[in-house]
């Protein structure tokens, strides 16, 4: 009962990576266990908690609701790819530390990816836009108050230094997948 495997080629955090895996291998598992990028966490495996959120061609998606083989040929950004190449944390990451936007840190990578894309598309979000933007991510520790504050703070940091907004947007935008 040997399972068929597929060649999977991804650009992850700007680096071309290849792997062989069965079609059923979830993108979250390939990133974590196949490529060793364990920063992406898995909290429910049915698409509700948002811990596994990564950027696919710049857009946040649930990596537990996608097969790695489907993602083949696309660009993926994980939490490991949010900081600058020299290791300096992105404005979103810095804001989360400054505003105590994390406690256990398990849901945090999903929030960071979601918020990075949110602020790229909406650099000066209203409070309602922030709430809607993070409304699909569960956090059991913080009560969200400091996460909302972190997003506002990140928006300020980006405004102060627009070049620091985050990772390359990939093929963000409409169509063309």
């Amino acid at each position: 009962m040997t399972e068929e495997t597929f060649e999977i080629e991804l650009t992850v955090n700007g680096v071309r990576r290849t792997a062989r895996a069965p079609a059923r291998r979830l993108l979250s598992d390939l990133l974590r266990h196949g490529l060793g990028l364990t920063g992406t966490h898995v909290g429910c495996e049915h698409g509700v908690c948002g811990c596994c959120t990564v950027l696919l061609d710049g857009e946040p998606v649930r990596s537990c609701l996608m097969f790695a083989v489907t993602a083949s040929g696309h660009e993926v950004t994980t939490v490991e790819g949010l900081a600058a190449p020299d290791g300096e944390m992105s404005p979103v990451q810095r804001a989360f530390q400054e505003c105590h936007g994390l406690q256990c840190g398990f849901c945090t990578p999903g929030f960071l990816c979601t918020v990075t894309a949110l602020l790229r598309d909406t650099p000066r979000p209203t409070d309602d836009e922030i709430l809607e933007g993070i409304s699909g991510n569960l956090c059991r520790c913080t009560g969200y108050q400091n996460i909302r504050r972190s997003v506002r703070r990140a928006s300020e940091l980006i405004a102060a230094d627009p070049a620091s907004g985050g990772p390359p947007a990939g093929e963000a935008g409409e169509g063309g997948r």
Binding site: E3, R24, H46, E59, V61, F67, G176
Partner: protein
């Protein structure tokens, strides 16, 4: 919570996709476990949770994400045609689509959460035929249609005949829903979409999509509502007669007749989140809210000459 094994096809063209979906697909005889009926994988936002929980175990998945010709969104004066690969987010962002049929954008704002809408597809949601989902109710209300294709040919399935039961679309084995058509909004017509969910983004306990058309004197000429979570399939009610007492011009008026009419006709079930009684009550409340909002919208649009 890992999906069970399945045979996997990733066609690049529609004919390839239809061939892969065909029962006991010819030309794939040498494959491992690839026989039987294929299941379409598009956005995967409903299917993959079922797979991860091993509540579904299709023998063969046909991943249509590489079929570029299905990634379409065509807007004409007649309406909005959404291809099988158009994601909720793309359709929701389209100003052209919103101009021709504003209800689409209104309803999409209630579909799960933004991140899910980045992957989930409009046609996939229709083909999933969940009576608690927003888009089936919208397609039904607007008398839209689904275009289905198979190796044997194409057919257009009107919304009224598409939803056969919970999670049961009128698609035959081997058929792929290639697009859905949402007709344009008529003149002097307004829309609204309201729903009550336990948490923001959850499936609605009850939801109502409504269209209200005014006559030249700004009286209600036609009022219809589409309901989710109140029956096994989307329910559409013509509320025109029940709206006779409503005063559109004031924007307020009495929608109680329409609400009562709705309460009598819905047939909800109880589940762990809400009783049938409560759902029936909500159907009435939301009928009034939806009609009021749709009427106000119609007046606005009429004022703008649309």
């Amino acid at each position: 919570m890992k999906p069970p094994p399945f045979a996997y096809r990733a066609p690049r063209t529609l004919p390839e996709a239809l061939a892969a979906l065909a029962p006991a697909a010819p030309g794939t005889g040498s494959d491992t476990g690839g026989g039987g009926v294929g299941k379409v994988l598009a956005g995967g936002q409903s299917l993959i949770p079922l797979l991860n929980m091993r509540l579904a175990a299709p023998e063969r998945l046909v991943d249509i994400n590489r079929v570029a010709e299905l990634d379409t969104l065509e807007v004409t004066g007649a309406g909005v045609r959404v291809g099988a690969l158009a994601r909720h987010a793309r359709v929701g962002r389209s100003a052209e689509a919103a101009a021709v049929q504003p209800l689409l954008r209104r309803a999409l704002a209630h579909v799960a959460h933004p991140v899910v809408r980045n992957r989930g597809t409009v046609v996939g949601s229709l083909a999933h035929a969940d009576p608690s989902a927003e888009l089936p109710a919208v397609l039904a209300l607007l008398d839209g249609s689904v275009e289905a294709a198979s190796a044997a040919g194409r057919r257009t399935i009107p919304a009224g005949g598409f939803f056969l039961g919970p999670l049961e679309p009128a698609l035959l084995p081997g058929e792929l829903a290639v697009s859905a058509f949402f007709p344009a909004l008529p003149p002097r017509t307004g829309t609204a979409f309201v729903e009550i969910a336990r948490r923001h983004g959850d499936y609605a306990l009850v939801g109502v999509a409504a269209t209200v058309t005014l006559d030249a004197g700004l009286r209600v000429a036609a009022a219809r509502a589409g309901y989710l979570s109140v029956a096994g399939v989307p329910l559409v009610l013509d509320l025109t007669a029940a709206c006779a007492g409503a005063d559109a011009v004031s924007g307020g008026g009495d929608w109680e007749d329409a609400a009562a009419y709705a309460r009598e006709r819905v047939d909800p079930e109880s589940d762990i989140h809400a009783s049938a009684d409560y759902r029936r009550h909500l159907a009435g409340v939301l009928t009034g809210r939806a009609l009021r909002a749709a009427t106000a919208d119609a007046i606005d649009r009429a004022g703008e000459g649309r």
